[in-house]
Amino acid sequence: MGRRFSGIIPRPAHPRTMATAVPTTPALDDLRADFPALDQEVRPGVRLTYLDNAATTLKPWPVIRAVQAFDAEYPANVHRGIHTLSERATEAYESAREKVARFIGAAEVEEVVWTRGTTEAINLIAQSWGRTFLKEGDEIVLSDLEHHANLIPWQMLAKERGVVLRFAEISDDGRLEPEAVERVLSDRTRVVAVTAMSNVLGTVVPLEPIVAMAHDRGAIVVVDGAQGVPHRAIDVGRLPVDFLAFSGHKMCGPTGIGVLYGRRELLEAMPPAWGGGSMVLRVSREGAEWNELPYKFEPGTPPIAQAIGLGAAVDYLSRLDSEAVASHERSLMEYAHRRLAEVGGVRILGPEPEYKGGILGMDVEGVHPHDLAQLLDRHGVAVRAGQHCAMPLHHRLGLPATARASAYLYNTTDDFDRLAEAIADARRLLHDRRPRRPA
C-alpha cells in the first residue's frame, strides 16, 4: 500500500485561519509556520494532524537549517583538526553543549555528556556508576510508570550484581504519590530512578518531595526526562537531581543526540563506560589516563550535526515564553478531555489535566488501539498505539494496549476536534456494527 506524501511545502505567506475554541496566543499560531512538516497532506485531500509528539516532535526551520549548514558548509570533525572548518565545527558543537547546560540549569557545562538519547544515557549510569558503586543487596527504587529505558538497564544490573529492584505503586488514576515512594525506600536504597512524566498517561511526577526523601536516605536520584525536559519540567539548578537523561528529538531536535546530565562529583568518580579515541589524555601499551569531563564518556566521533541541531532547538525553545507554552498545553489538555468526553466510549486513562502534561492515553470501547491508529490515519491523524515500551504499566492498568495522542507547542484545539471526529468515525465502523459475536 503506497502512502503518498506531498512533500515539504514551504508555508504560504498568508496567515492560516484557525477557528479555536480556547484562546491561544497569536505567537503560538504563527509558530506553526516554523514547522514545515505540519504543512502537508498525508494523501491527496487529507491534511496531517500530528499528535504523536511523545514519540518524536517535528523540527522547526532553524534546526533543519543548522543541521544542513553543518553538512553543507563546515562538515569537519571536532577536537582534532587545526584547520578552519574543524575549528568552526568544534565551536558550534561545544556552544550547543553550553546552550543545553543553560537550558536545564546545570551549574557547569562539563556536567553535560552527549549520548545517543535517553536510553543510552540511563544505560551509561547503570553500567558505569551502577557497576562501580552498587553491591549485592543494595536496592534501586523505580515506579510503575517507567518506560523500558528506565527499567531494563536496572534489571540487567540487578541480575549481574544481585541488586534488588523495588517498585513504587501508582494510584488507580495513574498518579505517583510521594508516599508510595516512601513506602519502598529502605536503608538499602541507593538509587531512586523515576520518570518526570509518564510517556503513556502524561502523569507529572512530584519530583521535589521524591528527591528530598531519597537524599534523606543517602540515595541518588536519576530522572528520566525524555518527556519532562521538552516541556521544561526540570531545572537542575533548582531541583538537585543527581542524574538527568533526555533526548533531543522529543524537543524539536534531531534524532541520535541526547544528554546525560550528572553532578560533577558523581561523573568524576565514574569510570568510562566505553573506550576509544578522544576520551583519553595519554595512552601507552599498558593503559591510559582518562580525559577530563565530559570527554571521558564520549569516545569516537560524536553526532556533531545532531548536537548542533539540538543547540538550535534549545535556542528555539528558549526564545518562547515558557509560561505561555505551558499554559497553551494545559488548556489543550483540558479541551481534549472535554471534547473526547463527548465522543461515546472513550475512556481517558491517567489523571485529570492538572496532574499531567500533554499526553492523552486512551482506551476506546470496542476498538483495538491498532485498529484505532489505522482508522485515525485515514483522517490524517497521527497517534501511537501499543504498549509504548511500558509493559509493566499496561499490566497495572489491566489493558493489553492503549492509544496515545500527545501534544506539543504547535498543536491546536482544531487538532483535537479532528481527533474526536476521527475516533467517532472509528467507533461507528467497529463498535456500532456489533454485537454479533456469540456470547
Binding site: 500500500m1 491498532h370 490515519d377 504498549q387 494496549a401 456469540p438
Partner: protein, 137 residues
Amino acid sequence: MDDAFYREELLDHFDSSPHRGRLEAADLGADLDNPLCGDQIHFEVALDAEDPGRIAAARFDGHGCVISQAAASILAEQVEGRPIAEARALTADHMIQWLGIPLTPARRKCGLLALRTLHRAIDQGTPGAPAGSGSPA
C-alpha cells in the same frame, strides 16, 4: 485501499466467526501473543479419528485487533480438512493472500500471529492450554 482493511468480510471474521471458541477435545494447541501490541491467540485443532494425519476441526480464541482475529478465523476455516503436513507448510504468503489486503510491516505481525500459533501447536505436538479459559464455541 485503506478501506479494504475494514471490509465487511474481515469484520465478520472478526466479530462473528463460527470458529471462535474451543473444541470438546483438542489434539494440538498453542498460545502466542504479540508482546508489543497485546494481541493474543489460542489456536487448537482436532485430528480426524479415521485419518489422524488430517485436521478435522480448528478453533481459535483470544483478543486483539481486527487483523489478528480475522486472520485466526480465516486460518481455522482454511485448515479444516487439510493434512497436518500441509498445514505446517503454509507460509506468510498464503495467509496474506487469504486476508486479501496488503499489510504494512507493523501489521504483518498481527496478520501472521495465528499462523505462527498453529505452527507452534503442530511442532509441540500437545493439546496446549486446557479448554475452559476461553468462551465456549
